[in-house]
Subunit: 316 residues, 2 copies
């Protein structure tokens, strides 16, 4: 299959693995790239030297294109940028910040730049900044998310009406059926997070992976909207947030409860009670751990099957 | 096109118009049925004698199947039930209540029964109650909605894994592209509300219709979760809700602000400031008013085109 996204990244399949904190190091990124998708190293949870090591290991593990997800609010961002340029990383996905900031700088170094957004306003800003493609992330996605709460089903057609560059759908996609749906909505590719967290190659803690397999309908919620909205698995930490809400606690009290390091504690160290467990609504559809290559292959097979079947049914 | 839903209702296209308060009387329902879909009269905002009139007028306006949407919390429900049975309405969609309550009673009278749900638990209850099909309504849908906040993209594949009866997707669908997406996700048909509110035949006030055309990204929000969660267009009434939230107002104060009759005031009488304007996120994609038959025809044409195009691209 060839389209604007496979051509842009020089990859086989229009499947991008979300660059997630604590879950997507070189093992996952290289596995996805080797499987024909685009793997991303999540730089948001890495010290500069850690990112350097992951990029170097990723290059040893695959000769296919891969990328780095770079949250623009990262405190030591200059060091990350130097590493990315020195190591000749071909693709950067920027998120959580103003896309105007580093796009032209990265592009001058020959890097393909994609910006992640959850609304129309920032999608248009990203286009103006000259990005090569946009990831549009719906309300159902795990982790940090937009305040408009626009879902993938609403967001993709709305952006497709107004944005002419390649568009990647994220949020709510964990199967070939949902991938087919995203393409029908107007996306050129999908970015998938949660399904790749629940792979053997992800660096998520085994306990976190198991809790994803156990999750059901209503197991996640987008909360902490007063700080930065985040979708997480409901656990004891979540219950404490709810208690503060019941007492109408201030932003300061919420920030104090959140504290520092909860995402690492939960997702990387496996503290299911006190950790912050970022995951999407699709956790309810994930019933077993798989390898990254199996995820990619099944996505392609089921997407193709779904489009072919629906096309046939519709012409009955 | 033939599938489980077109066979069940004996209709031409798998398109169902949502039965909405104040917006879907006999004119809209009969127009949709005449166009080949299934029109529904929204009984929730009608006195018993008003419903009777609408059903009788609908039967005069179309000889095709149509239905009634019946919120199970309707206070005078026995009268509505008598009318529906006396007038031999062929299809009833029940919502907002326990599906076990009237399903067998309606089915004994030869009526096809469909239940509207926003989560897995009630979908399974509805199957156990013996309904003929389920509407699964995602978070992006307008009006009253579930507390789990599960989006259409997440809800449909999850239910499709566990529910074996015909499944109708609702929420976020206003185009043939989104209809194609819903079918790929596993739905057998779509139920569409907002797009039909913005038709010439809907009984929504002209000012409300115009405000839908004007709506953009982030124009709606699911709010009043302490009472019954409802997605509405942001306006002065919405701002007053937000002010109460800032003051950490009690449920009682929220209920007092909501008061009675706000939905009628907004949607039917056109008070855009003080009325409650229930509409879905897809309002941002609705750029002009159309006739119901044009909506149905474009849905079918674009759905078919989309499935065919994506199927071709995927086999390139």
């Amino acid at each position: 299959m060839k389209n604007s996204i496979t051509e842009l990244f020089q990859i086989e399949f229009p499947i991008i693995q979300g660059g997630m904190i604590w879950c997507s190091g070189w093992e996952l990124a290289s596995a996805v790239s080797n499987a024909g998708g685009l793997g991303l190293i999540g730089a948001g949870s890495m010290y500069p030297e850690v990112l350097k090591t992951h990029i170097q290991k990723c290059k040893l593990a695959t000769d296919k294109p891969f990328g780095v997800n770079l949250p623009l609010l990262y405190p030591d961002i200059d060091k990350h940028l130097s590493t990315i340029i020195d190591e000749k990383v071909p693709v950067v996905f920027t998120s959580a910040g103003n896309p105007a900031k580093f796009t032209s700088y990265l592009k001058k170094h020959g890097i393909i730049v994609v910006h992640v957004t959850a609304n129309l306003k920032f999608a248009q800003k990203a286009v103006d900044a000259g990005v090569d493609a946009i990831v549009a992330e719906g309300f159902e996605a795990g982790g940090h998310n937009g305040r408009e709460e626009t879902t993938t089903m609403s967001l993709i057609p709305m952006l497709r009406q107004k944005i002419n560059i390649p568009l990647i759908a994220a949020g709510g996609i964990a199967s070939g059926q949902a991938m087919a749906a995203a393409l029908c909505l107007g996306a050129d590719a999908v970015q998938i997070g949660s399904r790749f967290v629940a792979t053997f190659e992800s660096s998520a803690h085994q306990k976190f992976k198991d809790s994803i397999v156990q999750a059901g309908d209503g197991s996640t919620e987008l909360t902490l909207k007063e700080l930065t909205p985040v979708r997480l698995l409901k656990n004891e930490f979540y219950n404490k947030i709810q208690e503060l809400y019941k007492k109408s606690a201030s932003e300061e009290k919420l920030a104090a409860l959140l504290g520092r390091g909860r995402a690492k504690k939960g997702m990387f160290e496996g503290d299911l009670n006190e950790g912050e467990l970022e995951i999407g609504q699709v956790a309810s559809q994930i019933n077993e751990l798989k390898s990254a290559v199996q995820v990619v292959n099944e996505l392609m097979i089921d997407c193709k099957k779904t489009l072919s079947l629906q096309n046939t049914l519709f012409n009955y």
